[in-house]
Amino acid sequence: MSLFRIALKNILRRRLRTALTLCGVAVGIAAFVALVGFSRSFEREWLRAYQSAGTDIAVVQKTFLNTSVDVSVGAKLRALPEVADAVPMILNMMDLTPEVNALVYAWPANCYEMDALTILQGRRFQDGQPEVMLGEVLADNLGKKVGDTLELQGAPFGVVGIFRGGSAFETGAALLPLGELQKLADLGDKVSAFHVHLRPAPAGESEQQYVQRARARIEAALPGLKAVPAGERARNNQLATLARSTAWGTSLIALLIGALGIANTMAMSVFERTREIGVLRALGWRRWRVMELILMEAAMLGFTGGVLGIFGGLAALRVLSLLPATASIAQASIPVLHAVEALVIAVLIGLVAGLVPALRGARLSPVEALRYE
């Protein structure tokens, strides 16, 4: 018989209470897996979108106001020696139908980013025309094909192409000519950002050093704007930051509730087993061994709740990946590291929640505990 077996028997003693506690932990961990997983997949896809197109730097307003960079900045950017190309772009979420909300990109038709897309049906849009290209997932969600019309803010746009992008973002997005979206949203010559594709790094200079040098030169040439390397932009853009803080905030609340559930269960369990703990102490068990037993029980609750929560979170992500509104961003799988992280958090929650009951159990006087009725 091992300590593990004793702990297991103790937590199975009150099965309903244990099951309810596990549900609490599982909900917290499921929220963590689904929400944080969702926000991370958001960042990952954002980065993949940059990487697949070859974007090295995004140039945005220092104040991070959306659609506030003037299109004339492009000429100054292209004049810099490190810059191979600079593409003005607008990116925003838009309600395409009452049910489907999707990312909408607006680019010039001949930009380098367009070259990274695979046209599955139809063709590229033409600048100056009310035309739209749809990512294959979005087209599927909308039930649209080439030749159909999509109404955007009351204006009809002809669907001219279905494409597959380098990231799930693009595959679930709509793509419009830049000028058409500026006209539609009354933006004048303003864009969200410029995506910059750099020339190859000179020999002897690392990619990272080169990007940092180009960044410094862009910022020196364009006061009021900032140049953000693609990886940083993927992590720290407004949407990613909002998604991450919302995910962590909501998860932490759910995890706190799960922790309180374990703390309550362990406190009740120690209270009910006062005399048994007294017996263990009377038979020579040291205080730390009593603590070890109680903490092991709490950690087992955390671990089991964590495993259930991971499956729950995966189920939630699966649902999100099927819903039209979120299908473009959510992925039904999570990286192994994220699952390990969730399990570690679950066990830590168990240990922290079990600490006070464990200390209480360990401090019991054997004589008083044996007298306890």
Binding site: I6, V279, L283, G284
Partner: protein, 222 residues
């Protein structure tokens, strides 16, 4: 005469801020291999004395010596309880979720044995107690007499030098009481252990080699 194994000197124990005086200056010497009974009416302090001798709690004043070494100066009382002393309680105090063979292994967690050795030793002790057919059962499936035999097997788990039994027959009928006392006396004789039994039953007190009688927290002169 055997050496003095356990000694109490001017032992007092009070509770509730001194309002209750359970022991009022007890001096007692227990020899190695001795069968000692401690008798007295309810509330006389006999169980308190046993608890102090067993290291379950400390005295308010006075001292206890084991093999000449004072508890206060030398002892890790957890280790003392685990290695030197075996307890048998009136209420058995078996853990209800564990099987019989698992209950006997509990004290061995503080010993050097691995899981398999613990199990083998627990089985051997239970066989010795005539409980070979009860190894896998839970305490609530056993009779009172059988439970006390499990508790005795558990008390022997770490081969202690001293066996402390607090009213071991208090919850048993006459037949089982006789059996349990015979087992305890047999263990004491065969293993040359020191057996201290707290009892209020005159027959058990008489069966011991020596009896001390306690009244109002003091040992009465014989």
């Amino acid at each position: 005469m055997s050496e003095c194994l356990l000694e109490a000197r001017a032992l007092t124990r009070s509770y509730d801020g001194g309002r209750i005086q359970a022991l009022r200056g007890v001096d007692l010497q227990v020899r190695a291999g001795e069968f000692l009974s401690i008798s007295g009416p309810s509330g006389s302090g006999k169980s308190t004395l046993l608890q102090l001798l067993g290291g379950l709690e400390g005295p308010s004043s006075g001292e206890i010596l084991f093999k000449g070494r004072s508890f206060a100066d030398f002892f890790d009382l957890d280790a003392y309880r685990a290695r030197e002393v075996g307890f048998v309680f009136q209420a058995f105090h078996l853990l209800p979720t564990l099987r019989v063979v698992e209950n006997v292994q509990i004290p061995m967690f503080e010993g050097p044995l691995g899981a398999r050795q613990r199990r083998e030793k627990a089985e051997a002790l239970l066989v010795e107690m005539g409980l070979a057919h009860r190894l896998q059962q839970h305490p609530n499936e056993l009779s009172a007499g059988e439970r006390q035999r499990v508790a005795i097997a558990r008390s022997l788990a770490n081969d202690p030098e001293i066996l402390l039994a607090d009213e071991p027959t208090g919850n048993l009928d006459t037949e089982n009481s006789a059996k349990i006392m015979a087992i305890l006396a047999g263990i004491q004789a065969s293993r040359n252990m020191t057996l201290i039994v707290v009892t209020h039953e005159p027959e058990i007190a008489r069966a011991a080699e020596r009896n001390v009688h306690i009244r109002d927290g003091r040992i009465c002169p014989q």
